[in-house]
């Protein structure tokens, strides 16, 4: 049985998503909670030695990157599933998986920076990583016009000077489409850097903070932060708007702009197709990745 988890976290206190020995990571904290629920349960039961469930995630975020709506899945043995099904509130909800979020959050209470916002039985064919059709990120920048806002400091990157948001937005729009983003990716042996950038725009929110919305089928490593860095260089006049697409087409990593800090970056949403298309999409993505592409489905 497969369960879908929706997860939110403040990345400040984590060394990223992926489990690492002796470092505090989101996956590590969540799997430790799963271990307390499923791992050390009912000695003598059929699956007393079944391993605790592991998580497969839609967007493997780097150290310091936040998530408003991360998605992951886990698989349970029939015996583990039966334990969830015994939960009385879950029975009332009609989905035994619905109680898992509550149980995990009970254990996570001391970890105020991560929470499971929902848990449910995954539809047939669902794979958090391979079924996803797009990931949407937001990047927040405060310049001299914005003014510094202490309450938003954990998910906003401060920059000096005043940025021209119209130039930034114009530059961003020239990057949209199916392209080789090698100039905007940290290289990875044997991994393709061809991606479809679906949306990329900049605006100021009500309080004056510069907000970038970036959506793509998938991102290669540090890609969002490079795309953001290039447009900030445009906003401050160090690059002309048309240069960001020229740099992309040159296909070489460059020092014309900086890869901005993880701090301002938040995974906002993961898109999946309609339920009946989930399995097809997963098979398709998995096939594509295997054809000489070892890239993760999405990193930051």
């Amino acid at each position: 049985m497969r369960i879908r988890l929706d997860i939110a976290y403040d990345g400040t206190g984590f060394r990223g998503w992926a489990r690492q020995p002796s470092l505090r990571t989101v996956q590590g904290v969540l799997e430790a909670a799963l271990h307390r629920i499923f791992g050390a349960y009912a000695p003598g039961a059929d699956d007393a030695h079944a391993p605790a469930p592991r998580l497969v995630v839609a967007g493997r975020t780097d150290a310091g990157v936040h998530a408003a709506a991360q998605v992951a899945h886990l698989d349970l043995s029939p015996e583990q599933w039966a334990r969830l099904a015994n939960d009385r509130r879950a029975q009332r909800d009609g989905d035994p998986a619905s109680g898992l979020a509550r149980r995990m959050n009970g254990i996570l209470r001391a970890d105020e920076d991560v929470t499971v916002t929902a848990s449910r039985t995954a539809p047939e064919g669902f794979d958090a990583r391979f079924s996803a059709v797009w990931r949407r990120y937001e990047y927040r920048v405060a310049d001299d016009i914005t003014g510094y806002r202490p309450l938003d400091r954990f998910n906003t990157t401060p920059v000096r000077g005043a940025l021209d948001v119209h130039a930034m937005d114009a530059a961003a729009s020239t990057l949209i489409g199916l392209h080789d983003f090698a100039a905007y990716c940290r290289p990875r042996e044997g991994a393709t850097t061809i991606r479809t950038l679906l949306d990329y725009s900049w605006h100021r929110d009500d309080a004056g903070t510069l907000v970038a919305g970036v959506r793509a089928d998938a991102f290669c490593h540090s890609m969002v932060r490079a795309l953001v860095g290039a447009c900030v260089a445009v906003g401050s006049g160090r690059l002309a708007p048309e240069e960001v697409a020229q740099l992309r087409d040159a296909g070489q990593r460059t020092s014309e702009f900086k890869v901005l800090a993880a701090r301002g970056l938040t995974l906002m949403e993961v898109g999946y197709p309609a339920d009946e298309l989930l399995a097809d999409r997963a098979a398709q993505t998995r096939g594509r990745r295997t054809l000489g592409d070892g890239a993760p489905a999405a990193t930051t």
Copy 2:
């Protein structure tokens, strides 16, 4: 010469606004920065022994309460003023006071939770506390419907259960007007509890968080958090909407509702009259407070 400062802070790490020996407070941190700028300057100068400027504030916030737009003023001696006037960038701005925010923020850089958003020469008759005509606060509550959002945890108070925002908003509107709010104030010897509540409403924001907007000429101690607690009791069904006005009219402190935590409370805005009315307003408020009313112009 009088200077107006606009200030923002995350109250989590402060023991409130008011200076206290050996405790970290907003006033304490800001006055220490002023001391570094004006106090230890130019030995041998005419005002080498002039005291460092002290701050007078619009809303003395309690421990843990935040501010998006606090207002304070300070007075400078002619010699202190002359030092500001020498600042080249301030001369370009046309207001010698404009550079003070920059200088203070340079010193405050390590204090990421407080910033001076603006500094300028105060108009004739301006008094941050006594010229103010209203204060506006926001209170944020996350219930089971909202879902917990780790990135907003420092300025949102979590409550269990699902709240009825329509009932809360209906109850809030019955409290508006000129009334004795003794039932909603922590008592203070010799201080009046009569206030004009100008606005009080509840809504859910885009993300589902319950947000209260509360505006009054001034607030007595813990008044916003009591008003919020009463409406949360309505939202969870423990009080009927009509009871919140009945409790107010009974004029007695009650255990029917809880005073909610400081954590969810933020001072959003301070209202001042047009420049030509500032001095009149200050004289009027000062007179009223002196007539047997020792209450501060605004606390939380």
